[in-house]
């Protein structure tokens, strides 16, 4: 691969991802409305898709206010971290054979590391806002994401055992015959639950929890800084969906009548739909329920899954 090709891939991935993240504003509002027997935004442009443009313009023209009591530099830094760390995670995802920004041999570890960095944006944003609700949101966010980070990592170790590699290209190639969702169903469920908690989406939107914490860690943010948190959230959904598709549903593998990238996007959009469906259907658990559920049920389950997978892998090999 030449340098030029590589630059094209980087730019293309960035372009597609940012557009998807923005377009998800429309997708989510439309789907959510449909599931609530409404129509949703359908006026601006064909099917209302230009609502994305209107929303973005509105965010750009809002006053970009930094509260006088806030810690100015951290306040500015926090929204940048969330977008940066999520975009960094996309580096290792193989969108199609040969279309991957960096084919790291520790790809999965890189993904886990980058998604952990996302915690900083919440903690710093909540801390820098100097507001009690923001701080509460930040505290909740930090403990939730650290707790669920543990199972997220552990739930993927089964796949690593079966593949024998941290490289995502190798993991996709290992699913040529069977998707890992069939051999690692428990791992899939736990990874997906942890992924929802990791992107702090509903029903696990405990760091923001409008009804308890106003807007949690981004209560003081306005204008495009808030927009960055927003984009970061949608990028996070896309990331978890893309990772689920890659790790458990064979990534770009699929019957030959569609090109590999189309299979990848189809699978990714299916999981994005599930994310939105979850938001439409399930209520938010209490904070202590979330933590108890994580540490008391999911952690033992994921350890059992790891143990059984390890035993079977050992038997098959021996």
């Amino acid at each position: 691969m030449t340098v030029m090709q590589h630059i094209w891939i980087v730019l293309g991935v960035l372009f597609v991802l940012l557009n998807i993240a923005a377009g998800l504003i429309w997708v989510e509002r439309r789907l959510l409305a449909m599931w609530q027997d409404r129509l949703g935004p359908n006026r601006a442009g064909p099917l209302g898709i230009l609502i994305v443009l209107a929303d973005t313009l509105k965010l750009f023209f809002k006053e970009d206010w930094i509260p006088p009591f806030a810690d100015k530099w951290l306040f500015i830094l926090a929204p940048a971290i969330v977008v940066g760390s999520v975009l960094m995670s996309f580096v290792i995802i193989p969108f199609a054979p040969q279309i991957v920004v960096a084919d790291l041999n520790i790809g999965l570890l890189f993904f886990l590391a980058m998604s952990s960095l996302g915690v900083y944006s919440i903690v710093l944003g909540g801390w820098a806002s100097n507001n009690k609700y923001s701080l509460l949101g930040a505290l909740r966010g930090a403990s939730q994401m650290i707790a669920y980070e543990v199972f997220m990592g552990l739930s993927l170790m089964g796949i690593v055992m079966l593949t024998g590699s941290f490289n995502l290209g190798a993991i996709v190639a290992a699913q040529q015959h069977t998707w890992f969702v069939f051999t690692q169903p428990l791992g899939f469920i736990i990874f997906f639950i942890a992924g929802i908690a990791e992107t702090h989406r509903l029903p696990f939107d405990i760091p923001e929890a409008e009804s308890e914490l106003i807007a949690g860690y981004h209560a003081e943010y306005s204008g495009m800084k808030f927009g960055m948190f927003f984009i970061g959230e949608y990028l996070g959904i896309t990331l978890i969906s893309a990772m689920t598709a890659t790790l458990f549903f064979g990534g770009w593998l699929g019957p030959g009548f569609l090109p590999p990238w189309a299979w990848f996007f189809l699978k990714t959009f299916f999981f994005i739909g599930i994310f939105i469906l979850l938001r439409a259907s399930l209520p938010r658990p209490r904070y202590d329920q979330l933590m108890g559920y994580g540490w008391k049920i999911l952690l033992p389950l994921v350890l059992v899954n790891l143990l059984v997978t390890g035993a079977i892998a050992l038997c098959l090999r021996g």
Binding site: W35, D37, L39, S281
Partner: protein
């Protein structure tokens, strides 16, 4: 877990349900005849104003949005010199319609009265008067009973009898 998945499935099925949204400017809701919307002043079957300027509507109005001044013509028939409703204050409660003894003031099923200038929401008598009898066709206040003000002769009303000639012996 099963109940969560069932919930999600049931919510998903709503994708195919009929939508509750009415797409307003193209598609309009059916307003019932007794819907309390814009206020109008109606006319009697002869084409005269029904309003007699009794001020009961202005007194009943909880937000004081009705202003009028009564006057009389040469026959002694009362009518409002001006009649002004400030629709930027009106709450469409319908008390004026209930208070009106002559069915002159009525609320009709129309709510599309948005304006760009607030002043345009102050309706004068010529804006309020409509060439119709509204919800009570055939009712003519001055023809029912009362003194002669050029509409009917004395005792010729629907609900009164001719005056008795007290010098006549026959009943």
């Amino acid at each position: 877990m099963i109940s969560h998945i069932r919930t999600m499935w049931l919510v998903f099925l709503h994708l195919f349900h009929k939508k509750a949204t009415i797409q307003y400017p193209e598609e309009k809701i059916r307003l019932r005849p007794r819907y309390k919307g814009r206020i109008v002043l109606t006319k009697d079957p002869d084409g005269g104003e029904r309003c007699v300027g009794c001020y009961l509507c202005a007194a009943a109005c909880p937000v004081d949005c009705i202003a009028l001044q009564a006057t009389e013509d040469e026959h002694g028939r009362r009518y409002p010199e001006f009649f002004r409703i400030n629709f930027s204050r009106c709450i469409f409660c319908g008390y004026c319609e209930e208070a009106c003894p002559t069915y002159a003031i009525q609320l009709i099923p129309d709510f599309e009265m948005a304006e760009f200038k607030r002043q345009n929401l102050v309706f004068e008598k010529e804006d309020l008067l409509i060439d119709s009898q509204g919800k009570y066709p055939g009712y003519n206040f001055y023809k029912a009973a009362g003194v002669n003000i050029g509409v009917k002769e004395k005792g010729a009303g629907d609900q009164e009898e001719r005056p008795v000639d007290i010098h006549d012996l026959l009943p």
